[in-house]
Subunit: 341 residues, 3 copies
C-alpha cells in the first residue's frame, strides 16, 4: 500500500493531468479535514451510493462537476500551488455542487447556475481566506455555505427556478416540533449524522465515510463518532425535533467540529477531549439558534454552525494579550480635533 | 476608606481566594466600565434589590452563578492575569447569568443551560477580543449579547424550554406603538433607564447603581444621567413606544455609550461632550433599527446598540490615513493571471 | 477646457471656500468612482432633472444638503486633507441625502433626521475605512447603505415617520413576480439602470450620467453600459420580476461593479473584461439573494450588492499565501492550559 501511494505521488508530481486528478481526489477528503486521495475516492463512492440510494444520481454529477470546475478555477487563477495540490480548493465547490441539485429543480439552467456557483465558491474561498488570515484562521467550508445561501435566496427571485428545501418560511417558534417517538435504535441515526456532512441521508454513506476516515486517521474517525453521538444525544435530551434528529441533522456539524478541534487542529489528549466535548455542545446550540434565525428565509443552516463554533474555539490564543479594555483611548477623532483647534 | 481599600488590595494580592473574590466583585462594575470592587458590590446589591422587588430572586442566583462560573472559566483557561484581576472576564457572564433566568422558564435544565452559557461567554470574550484587537478595540458586552441571543434562539428549537421574552415574532411596522399618555414625572423613567443596563426594571436599582458609579467616578455618574435623559427625551420627541419608554428601555444603551465615550475612553471636556451627545442619538437610532431587525425573531436587542455605536465612534483614528479609495489595485488575482500567461 | 480646469484647480488650492466647493463637486462623481468636479456638476444636473421629472424637487434639496453636511463634518473632524479634496467624504452622505426624502414622508423632522444621517454617514465612513484598510480595501458606498438602513428601520419605531418604500414586509417567495410582458425596447431600461445608481428612475438622468462619465473616462462610460446591459439581460433570461427590471433596478449595482472592477481598479483589458463579466453575474446573484433576505424587513438593497461583490472580487491577492488550512494550531487556549498544568 505505501508503495502504491508513493508511486501515485510521484506520478502526480510529474504529470500535470494526474496532478490535477490527485488535487480533485483530495478535495472530498478535505471536507473532513483529511489530506489523502484514497480517502477522497472513498468519499466519492459514499456520495455515489447515497445519490443512487435516494434516486437522485444527478447529485453525483453535481458533486463531480462542482469539484472539477472549482479546482480548475483555482488553476486558472494561479493560486498557491501546494495548497491547490492538497485539495484545499476542491472541497467547498464539491459541496456547492451537491447542494444545488439537491435544493433546486432539475432543468438545464440549473447546471449553468451550478457551474457559476462553483466558480464563485473558489473566488469566495480566496476572498475569505484573505480575511481570516488576519487571525491565523481559514474559511473552512464557509465559502460553500455563503455561496449556496446566495444561490438559494436568489432562486426565489427567478421565475425559472423552484426551491426544493422542504422548508416553509415562517416565524421561529411557529413550527411544531415532532415528538420523540423515534426509533430507539440510534446507530443508523448516528451514521446518518456522518453522511449529512455531504448533505446525504443514508447510514451506508455514513459508514463508508467512517472507513474513509480510518484509512487516513484513526483519531479523526474516533472523533467523528464522538461528534455525531454527542450532539445527537444532547439534542435528544433537550427535546429537539425528532424527525430532523432521525435524519442525522443534529449530528453533522458536530462531526466536523469534533474532527477539527479534537483530532486535526490539536494533538489529541484528555484536555483536548474536554474542550472538544464543550465544542460539540457549542456547535449544537449555534446550529439551533441559526435554525431559528433562518426560519423566516426557509434556507438550511448547512455547515455554518461548524465554521462559527470552530472559529470561536480557535480564536483564543495562547499568549493572551492584556485586554485593552476600558482604558482611555489615545488617538481618536475627538483628540485630533482638540489638538488642531 | 483609602486605608480599607489598600488593605483589601494587599489581601487580594496575597491570598488567591480573596484575589478571586476581588476579581468577581470587579465584574459587575466593569459592565459600566469601572474598575472598583466596592462599585461592584453595590451593583450586586442593586441587582438583589431589583430581583426581590420583581419577585424573581432566582435572577440574583443566576447573576452570581454566571459571574463565578465565567470568572472561573477564565482562570482555568489561564488568561492574562492582570485583565482577569480587573474583572474583565466577569462582566459579560454576569449579564448572561441574569438574562437566562429572565427570559427562560424556571426548571433544573435551565441552570445547566446557564452554566454552559457562562462558560461560552468567556470563550466568546477571548475570541472576540482576539478579533477586535486588530483595530485597537475590545468586545465590550458583545460576548454576552451574542451568547444570550444564541441561547434564546436555540431554546425555540428545544421542547424543554419556553421563551418568556413577552415578544411575539412579527414583521416590523406591524406592532402598534402605544401612545404617549405616559406619566409626565420622568425621573423614575430615567432611573429605570440606568437599571435596565442590568436587565432590571426598578428605579431604586437605578439609583443604587448611580451611587455605585459615584463611589468610583463622578464623571461616569454624570454621563450616565446624561445618557438616560438624552436618549429617553429624544425617543419621546420622535414618538417611540410609550410602554417601552416608561420601562427605561430606550435609556440603558445610551447610558453605556455616554459613560464609555464621554467619561472613560476620552478625557471629559466640551468637545467630548458634543461628540457624546451625537453618540447618544446614534445609539438610539441603532437601537431602534435593531429592534426592527429582531422583530421577526422576537428577541431583545440587549446591549448590542451600545457596542455597535461605541465601536463606530472609536474607530476613526487620529492620524487619518489617506483613503486608498478608487485607485488602481496593484496586486489582484487578475494581474496575477495576466503576469503568468 | 484644460485651461479652465487648471485655473479652477489653482483657485481651489488657494481659496478655502472654493476648495470646499470643489470637494463638494467631486463627491457626486466619486459615487461612480470618478475624481472630477465637472463630472460631479453634471451628475448634480442629472439628479436635478430626475427630481423635477418625478415631481419631487425636495430630493435635489436632500442631495445637496447631505453632500454639504457630510463634507463639512469631515472638515470638522480634520480628516486626511487630500482624501477630502478628492470628494471621498461627499459621495456617501450625498446618497443618504437622496435616500431619506425618497423613502420618508415630508415633514420638518425629516430634515433634522437627514442632517443627523449625513453626519453619521461621515463617521461611519471613517470607521469602516479603518476596518477595511486591514485588507487594502475601502468602504465604497457601504456607509451610505448601512446608515440608510438604520434610518429606515428606526423610522418604523417612531410614530412621527412614515416609511414610503412601497415594500410590504413578507416572507421571501411569497410575492408574485410580474411576468415578462415588458416593453421590448430595452434602451430606456438600460439607461434607467444607470440613473438608479442615484436612486432615480429616469432614462434622461441616466443619459446625462453617461455623459458625465465620458467627460472624465471613456472606459468608465463603456463599462457602465456593459454593466447595465449585462445584468439586465441576465435578469431577463433567468425570469426576474419584470416591473423592477423595467425600472432599471437590476442594473445599477452591476453598473458600479463594472466601472470599479473593469475600468477603475484594474487596467482595462481582455482578461479584466472576462473577470468583470463574471463580476456582473456575481453582483446580480448577490442582489437577488439580498432582496430575499430583506423581504421580511421591507427595506431596499440599495448599493450593498455592488459593495459585497466588489470586495469579494478584489480580496484575492496576487501573491497567494499558502492556505494555512487544516494544520495543527500551535498556540491555542488548550495548549496554553496544557503547558501550565
Amino acid at each position: 500500500m505505501p508503495n502504491v501511494t508513493r508511486s501515485w505521488d510521484k506520478l502526480s508530481d510529474h504529470n500535470p493531468l494526474i496532478g490535477f486528478v490527485d488535487a480533485c481526489l483530495r478535495g472530498p477528503a478535505q471536507v473532513v479535514l483529511q489530506n489523502n486521495p484514497l480517502t477522497g475516492l472513498l468519499v466519492l463512492v459514499a456520495i455515489a451510493w447515497g445519490a443512487f440510494e435516494n434516486g437522485q444520481p444527478r447529485i453525483l454529477g453535481g458533486a463531480v462537476l462542482g469539484l472539477v470546475v472549482g479546482t480548475a478555477t483555482a488553476v486558472a487563477l494561479r493560486v498557491d500551488e501546494p495548497s491547490l495540490r492538497k485539495g484545499l480548493f476542491g472541497f467547498s465547490p464539491l459541496l456547492t455542487g451537491i447542494a444545488v441539485p439537491t435544493f433546486l429543480d432539475d432543468r438545464p439552467l440549473m447546471w449553468l447556475y451550478l457551474v457559476l456557483g462553483a466558480v464563485a465558491t473558489t473566488v469566495v474561498t480566496l476572498a475569505l481566506n484573505a480575511i481570516f488570515k488576519t487571525w491565523g484562521l481559514t474559511a473552512f467550508t464557509m465559502p460553500f455555505v455563503l455561496t449556496t445561501w446566495v444561490l438559494l435566496l436568489a432562486a426565489y427571485q427567478f421565475d425559472r427556478f423552484t426551491v426544493l428545501t422542504n422548508l416553509k418560511p415562517m416565524f421561529p417558534g411557529e413550527g411544531q416540533l415532532t415528538d420523540g417517538r423515534f426509533n430507539w435504535d440510534l446507530v443508523p441515526t448516528f451514521l446518518r449524522g456522518v453522511s449529512q456532512v455531504y448533505l446525504i441521508n443514508s447510514w451506508v454513506t455514513g459508514l463508508i465515510i467512517l472507513v474513509a476516515l480510518l484509512v487516513n486517521s484513526r483519531w479523526s474517525a474516533l472523533f467523528a463518532v464522538i461528534g455525531t453521538v454527542g450532539a445527537t444525544v444532547l439534542a435528544l435530551w433537550f427535546g429537539a425535533d425528532a424527525t430532523s434528529l432521525d435524519k442525522g441533522l443534529f449530528g453533522f456539524n458536530a462531526v466536523l467540529t469534533a474532527i477539527a478541534v479534537g483530532a486535526v487542529l490539536h494533538r489529541p489528549g484528555a484536555l483536548v477531549t474536554v474542550y472538544t466535548l464543550f465544542g460539540i455542545a457549542l456547535t449544537l446550540f449555534v446550529q439551533m439558534s441559526l435554525t431559528s434565525m433562518l426560519t423566516p428565509l426557509a434556507i438550511p443552516v448547512l455547515t455554518a454552525p461548524f465554521n462559527i463554533a470552530t472559529w470561536l474555539l480557535l480564536l483564543p490564543k495562547r499568549h493572551f494579550a492584556p485586554v485593552p479594555n476600558h482604558e482611555r483611548a489615545k488617538e481618536t477623532v475627538v483628540s485630533a480635533v482638540k489638538h488642531s483647534v
